[in-house]
Symmetry: C2
Subunit: 153 residues, 2 copies
């Protein structure tokens, strides 16, 4: 039984090392992703936060509060970010006819174009993924989904 216990411990230790390795790899990916996202945004004179908001609004117009929820920050913070985007003509505030308290932020034509170009310029993850076969990418997709508790998609 001593041998079995030793084996079990060795397996546990190897497991922990493997997990730590994967966690470190994920940390590297997070770092690279941010780096490239900021750089891509900077090409259009945008900060990372501005680019994220613009990307959100290019999908669909959103009330200020919803933007804050997506960004996981306080609504008062969104005011300034949208201010700066609006000052550059990339976004506009519209009144919500259903609730006059609400201001709906929407991408302008120019804003939608910028968001499109920015998105297609995001080489990270897309370019390295090109080196993986379709089967491997499916495997990766399934593993990532399970990590995010999205078993079905």
């Amino acid at each position: 039984m001593a041998a079995r216990t030793d084996t079990a411990h060795a397996t546990e230790a190897a497991d922990a090392a493997l997990t730590r390795e994967v966690v470190d790899l994920i940390a590297s990916i997070v770092s690279r992703y941010h780096e490239e996202y900021e750089a891509a945004a900077a090409q259009y004179g945008l900060t990372g936060a501005q680019a994220r908001v613009l990307a959100l609004l290019a999908r669909e117009p959103l009330p200020m509060r919803r933007i804050a929820e997506q960004l996981k920050c306080e609504p008062s913070n969104v005011t300034g970010i949208v201010d700066r985007l609006e000052a550059r003509g990339l976004v506009e505030r519209r009144p919500d006819p259903a609730d006059r308290r609400v201001k709906v932020a929407a991408a302008t034509e120019a804003g939608a174009q910028t968001a499109d170009r920015l998105r297609s310029g995001l080489t990270f993850a897309r370019e390295p993924l090109a080196g993986l076969s379709a089967q491997e990418r499916r495997a990766l997709r399934d593993l990532l989904r399970r990590m995010l508790d999205m078993p079905a998609g």
Copy 2:
């Protein structure tokens, strides 16, 4: 040949969709990772940047300039972050005997303890990974390595 071309186009489109799906999943992971990292840091009254620097210095003491390189920011920025960590007794600046221009930042005993607790409290990526078999984690590790251009490790 029209049929073959159509098939090729269909495959390309499916490939692009798959890639976009994986990219979106990675974006989700990046978002979750950040969220949890900030929350874990906040438990110790630290910001994300402070926690990152403390984690670096818990591994080994570093000159200010090296910290800036790891953080991918200007050295002048590191001054403030280390100032705040030092004010709380988590980090200290030491002179470098080999080069008197250099200030080496090092985690104090308290800083190392905080870094340890913080790291072990990082549930994300570690907890979801527990649901994956060792074989799956190895597969994930290899796929992530290839994404990062680290074929061998």
